[in-house]
Amino acid sequence: MLEKKLLTKRVGIVNPLSIDDYIKQDGYKQFKKALKMERISIIEEVEKSKLRGRAGAGFPAAIKMMAFAKEEAEHKYMICNADEGEPGNFKDRYLMENDPHSVLEGMLITAYATRATKAYIYIRGEYNKALSIMKWAVDEAKEKGFIGKNILGSDYDFDMEVRSGAGAYVVGEEFALIESIEGKSGRTRVKPPFPTEKGLFGYPTLINNVETFCNYPVIIEIGGKAFAKIGTASSTGTKLISLSGNVNQKGVYEIPFGVTIREVIETLGKGVPENRKIKMIQLGGACGPIIPEYMLDMKIDFDRFEDFESKTGAGAIIVMDERVDVFEVLHRIVNFFGHESCGRCTPCREGHPQLEILVKRFLNHEATSKDLLSLESLARVMHQTSLCGLGQSSPISIISTLGYFRDEYHDRIEFVGKV
């Protein structure tokens, strides 16, 4: 069995629209347990679990939690980042649509441990179904007294609100997300200060991704130590993988860290249709590296992925078979990021149109060797100097293909030469 269902154990079994059903299946049991624990020991369990954020960067969850817990303020906000806009990712949608209360339970545990006063669940506007399910779930949880004043007879008050996005990928970035909840354009802010110090409406704010929150009930249930034994030394627990592209069984799979990419594609995804060969895969989504078939035996692991600048906490695998043109793919990616750039910092705003022009020359077999140098230089400068994650990660597909598929670039240049 490759899969290990900790976060998704109730998917397909529980009725997402029934809190009673969730409770019947031991739902909110971990929150009740947490309510009886010392706040600090909840954070200690998280620390022992070595949980890392599932949004992308893989930041240790306990450090962020501790920093936030220490803040004293009238309002302490929590945000559940469900703005899953990264192309090729759909695991947060999967969790919200199939087991919404597990998301809420994770949030409640975190909120209680850190004395948060209110949480916002920010769901991208494209996710109509997840939006209505989550709103329903929050209402139900309020009715049952899991959210509100004196939760379950304790002295703890906590409120929750669901907000919808309106079509902006960049809002996945934490400060852009904060701006958006404040009812503004999603343009990021200068750091420091960081959100845990001064975030939403100027108050301390803890932001986690949907999947990250879903790990908390598991940690409370089995304990941090046991949790840390799952996966690899540097990446503990399980990972939800969004598998898409040219693969027979696309879908979300929960695996312990350490499984190889090939295992996911071949065993869980049942390989490529019509037995075509895999040419390349993109890891993490549009912002991730594109790597060749021979690297598929790599284990899914934060540290391993970081080696080639992939923020792969998101856990998407997009499979592309031998028919796919690298430059067609790059063109779409560059186009996407160019459109989604907030337009604030120069490298991202003015860089994307130029990346697009250059990639298009390769796509159309019109590139020169000078174009290759310009493209490489531009991609690196954008990566190094952009203000937020969008501009920093968007050129990674180009940078990685310049490494792994350099011949294809050269081929397009040579073609011009022959004419």
Partner: protein, 154 residues
């Protein structure tokens, strides 16, 4: 629902701007907002019009120009692309005789690209209004569009 009624559901604070805009635009057949309406919204929420202008122009859901009654949004990202999305686009363009970004002469359909719909497990995907269609083929698309043609408002 008239704008004022929608406004009154919300506290008069700027953080509700996007929610108000979304809810109100949804009630409009041609999915767009006029400056007059935006002025009223700005006044109610006590925010400047320039902030409303900035927000409306930032998020792709909002429009200052009228669109067709049904806005067809085809996912344009890689997971859909490698699952034959280009042939869908071609089919729809031919069916409607418009290019992406245009509205049919009868104002029934607007065709747009959208960013990933998160339906990559059932790619290729598209959205019409709030409904997402998945595992699309050219034939499936033809059927969906003719169904929507029938749904024309009186």
């Amino acid at each position: 629902m008239p704008l004022q009624e929608i406004l009154e559901k919300y506290p008069k604070t700027g953080d509700h701007l996007i929610e108000v805009l979304l809810e109100y635009q949804n009630t409009k057949m041609n999915h767009y907002l006029t400056e007059e309406e935006l002025k009223q919204i700005a006044k109610y929420l006590n925010v400047t019009e320039s902030r409303v202008s900035s927000v409306v122009s930032f998020y792709t859901f909002f429009s200052l120009e009228p669109k067709g009654q049904h806005v067809i949004q085809i996912c344009h990202d890689v997971p859909c692309y490698v699952n034959d999305q280009p042939s869908l686009v071609k089919t729809i363009k031919n069916l409607l005789s418009i290019d992406v970004g245009q509205t049919t002469e009868d104002k029934l359909f607007t065709l747009e690209y959208t960013s990933c719909l998160g339906a990559c497990d059932k790619a290729p995907a598209m959205r019409i209004g709030e409904k997402t269609f998945t595992d699309l083929t050219p034939n499936k698309v033809k059927a969906i569009i003719s169904e929507y043609r029938g749904k024309r408002h009186a």
